[in-house]
């Protein structure tokens, strides 16, 4: 699974993950505090400037934004049908600016950096006994590790269906897929425990 991180040496790349996330949060708040067209339009220009300066070729940079922008646009058009036009435009500008900066953060921050930040954020929760901070990295690793196996399993189930002349239906496929996958949990958990990886837990 290819991540959305793109190697590079732009200014955004060099800023720490924490700073970028804090700015993103602050930006979210600020965008929703103002309804001023000019400010919001400037916001869009500024965030677009940042997003297109990180080193992505224009085509892929735009392709990444397409699904989200489409949703923003459709909702804005829907809003136009019922609301005064400036309300729809304000929403359009706000969300577009947010989208651009968020996409810039994603493209310039490596997965390991994100995981480090989340793990740090989770440490206080560890003291409350709610979770183990290191479990975040482990959980992410486990998912990326086993998604390909699950896809293989799905294909095997489909082939078995074909061999028996059964049509592929959610009920006939999802049940074995889920059971076979979850049955592995005990073995995987035993292997993890045997390596002493989660030492501070029961």
């Amino acid at each position: 699974m290819k991540s959305l991180f793109v190697e590079g040496n732009s200014a955004m790349h060099r800023v720490s993950a924490r700073a970028k996330l804090l700015v993103l949060a602050a930006l979210g708040v600020m965008l929703f505090l103002t309804a001023n067209f000019l400010l919001l339009a400037l916001g869009v220009l500024a965030t677009a400037g940042i997003y297109f300066s990180i080193g992505l070729p224009a085509r892929s940079a735009l392709a990444r934004l397409k699904p989200v922008f489409l949703t923003i646009l459709i909702v804005a058009l829907f809003s136009l049908a019922f609301n005064p036009w400036h309300i729809a435009v304000v929403a359009l500008l706000r969300l577009t600016a947010l989208m651009l900066f968020a996409a810039a953060v994603t493209a310039t921050t490596a997965i390991a950096q994100f995981i480090d930040e989340i793990t740090l954020l989770a440490r206080p929760l560890e003291r409350l006994g709610l979770l183990r901070a290191d479990d975040v990295g482990l959980a992410v690793g486990l998912v990326v590790r086993f998604v390909p196996e699950i896809l293989d399993r799905y294909r095997a189930i489909r082939e078995a269906h074909a061999a028996r002349g059964i049509k592929v239906r959610p009920t006939t496929v999802l049940m074995p897929l889920i059971i076979l996958t979850l049955r592995d949990a005990d073995n995987i958990a035993a292997a993890i425990d045997a390596r002493g990886v989660r030492r501070h837990v029961n």
Binding site: L4, R64, N83, I87, V90, R94, I150, L182, A185
Partner: protein, 187 residues
Amino acid sequence: MSTRDLVLSALFAAIIVALGILPPITLGFIPVPITAQSLGVMMAGVVLGARRGTIAVLIVLVLVAIGLPVLSGGRGGLAAFAAPTTGFLIGWVLAAFVTGYLSERLVKSEQSALAQTVGFFFAAMIGGIVVLYACGIVYLAFAAQLGLSKAFLGSMAFIPGDVVKAFVAALVGRAVMVGYPLLPVRS
């Protein structure tokens, strides 16, 4: 949380991710393919229960946030949270929790197959539709400045599809419970 619970949650998160990658599956009686990822969220609650189902969904959201394209269509990254429909995404967490909680309360192993399926269907409807749409509509109303009634109106079109998904989740949930019971019992 026990290692087994963590692994179960992570594996289900992987199933939800896989469902976003696999092509939609057609139901026999309706010629429309159902995109399975939101179905996966309902199934997380129905199969794993409230706690692990919620954690499975949280793991998926973490994967999206850190830049992995795990949402159906290859979407991912923080930009996915900038959409006006983000309420429907973050609402997955509450949806899985409520679906799981109701499943644990309502469905017992001594019940008939029909009773169990109905129980799961109810849980999936309340969690996967009522609660999820509440989250989605509220956020839509606020973030897109749509107003609650318009947001509600705009979201109605998707409900029939999700009712079908709740039904599928109930059938699959019941079948999984028979084959490999994992649902904690909550009285």
